[in-house]
């Protein structure tokens, strides 16, 4: 069997660093001999050092992201591709904000508050309309029992939230929906995701993920 050196090294590094960090974070002070062993081997200190390295690397990725954004839009502008005008606006805004932050930092905050926050607030308001229109379109395209149930529950939830008297049965139904089926369903979903996360995480940790084989 042919073993590729770099793949083997990457797997070995991942497995050792992964297990070191997991054990360092998991083993507390009350596990008897296991805790003593962890203390003697400085597992917790090693895990903390590794986590600090991760934090520094994460900070560096912001620069990589900005570089990617600028290069992608420069490429679009240079190639005069469709939507190049958006790229021009983005690059001009980018230059303006960097320039303002360098020479007049207070004004860059004003720009953030007056432009970005207001635009994002407008977008947030649009989410409601997108959802309502989506529900309408869903019922128009395919009327299924699950779709009908979904829309019915949305209606009960919205109607039950109204501050009117005389709709106590609706409010009770809304509370029951939130407490029992919604809560149970949400827990089921989250438990499923947690189990899948555990299994996938362990696959990465023991070095059998695809990225180490290629």
């Amino acid at each position: 069997m042919r073993i590729r050196l770099w793949a083997a090294l990457a797997s070995a590094l991942t497995v050792s660093v992964g297990f070191l960090t997991v054990l360092g974070l998991l083993i507390g002070d009350d596990l008897g001999a296991l805790s003593d062993l962890a203390r003697e081997l400085y597992l917790r200190e090693a895990a903390n050092v590794l986590l600090e390295i991760v934090t520094i690397t994460i900070a560096l990725t912001v620069f990589i992201g900005i570089l990617n954004l600028v290069l992608v839009h420069l490429g679009r502008l240079g190639g005069r591709q469709r939507g190049a005008l958006y790229s021009l606006v983005l690059l001009a805004s980018f230059g303006l904000v960097i320039g303002l932050y360098a020479f007049r930092p207070a004004d860059s905050l004003v720009l953030l508050e007056t432009v970005q926050l207001s635009v994002e607030s407008a977008l947030a308001a649009l989410v409601l309309f997108a959802l309502v229109y989506g529900a309408y379109r869903m019922m128009r395209q395919r009327v299924s029992w699950s779709g009908s149930l979904f829309v019915l529950v949305v209606l009960v939830m919205l109607a039950g939230a109204l501050p009117f008297s005389g709709i106590e049965p609706l409010q009770d139904a809304r509370d029951w929906l939130l407490d029992i089926p919604v809560s149970a369903g949400a827990r089921g979903l989250l438990l499923g995701i947690a189990l899948a996360t555990l299994v996938t995480g362990l696959r990465v940790l023991v070095g059998i993920d695809r990225s180490y084989r290629e």
């Binding site: 083993i27 992201g65 958006y86």
Partner: protein, 252 residues
């Protein structure tokens, strides 16, 4: 539950999962039966349409990133992106992979590069195929940017597998206006609800972690899905046992 019990339980669960993965990974003879998932069944068609029409597929990790709670989700979503890109690599227009957490950018670029290399098309890989948009979970700016990108790049389909909140509705709305099919899933409950209601073919919860099993079919990947299913059944049995024990203790 005190801290020591939590630690011991965590170690036991990790060991149990390790044993299950190890045992199932050794099984080679018969493939594990997989239940049909319409979203995965649709992916080959979407890839075919993309290659034939010369329009790029849009894949997105949302705000999933490395170093936080969504690290493993980012790895799973990258696997889905790998499988889709590998199939679409022979086309003229490379798939576009978008994300909003900059920590996932190296992962995204590596995923695309490996997918092209696996088809001996390494020279076709372009760094600009992985695109970062402004940062933040539930980033409305990301949703707006992705909506605009769908139009300017004339994408043929969207595979939105990652971490999204309600802002997913804005991306879906842009897709519908451009009549672009969408496969969507999120680890956030709000995003998952939007995906279920509005996507042409939703994935639900942990189904995104099974991309390799459904699209690759190797025994390594299939054992992962089998391990998740087995652990889920063990959890259900444990919960039922707890319920029975509680009822019995109250009756006694």
């Amino acid at each position: 539950m005190d801290q020591t019990t939590t630690q011991v339980l965590s170690i036991l669960i990790i060991l149990l999962a390790l044993v299950v993965i190890a045992v199932l990974s050794r099984r080679r003879r018969r493939p594990f039966p997989l239940r049909p998932i319409p979203a995965y069944a649709r992916i080959p068609d979407l890839v075919g349409e993309s290659v034939e029409s010369g329009r790029p597929l849009h894949l997105s990790l949302g705000s999933a990133g490395i170093g936080g709670e969504s690290t493993v989700l980012a790895v799973a979503s990258a696997e889905l992106a790998y499988q889709v890109t590998q199939r679409a690599a022979t086309g003229d227009t490379p798939p576009i992979l978008t994300l909003t957490d900059s920590t996932a950018l190296p992962l995204a670029q590596d995923t695309l590069r490996r997918a092209y290399q696996s088809r001996a098309l390494g020279t076709s890989y372009r760094y600009s195929s992985a695109r970062w948009f402004p940062y933040g979970s539930r980033s409305l700016a990301f949703a707006a940017a992705v909506g605009a990108m769908m139009d300017s790049d004339n994408v043929s389909a969207n595979v939105l597998a990652g971490s999204y909140g309600p802002e997913l509705a804005l991306i879906m709305d842009a897709s519908f206006r451009q009549r672009v099919p969408v496969i969507a899933v999120s680890d956030q409950l709000e995003g998952q609800a939007v995906a279920f209601a509005l996507a042409d073919a939703p994935l639900i919860g942990e189904e995104v972690f099974a991309a390799g099993s459904y699209l690759d079919g190797s025994s390594h990947q299939m054992s992962e899905s089998a391990a998740i299913d087995l652990l889920r059944w063990l959890l259900v049995l444990a919960m039922l046992a707890g319920l029975v024990a509680t009822i019995a203790s109250q009756g006694g």
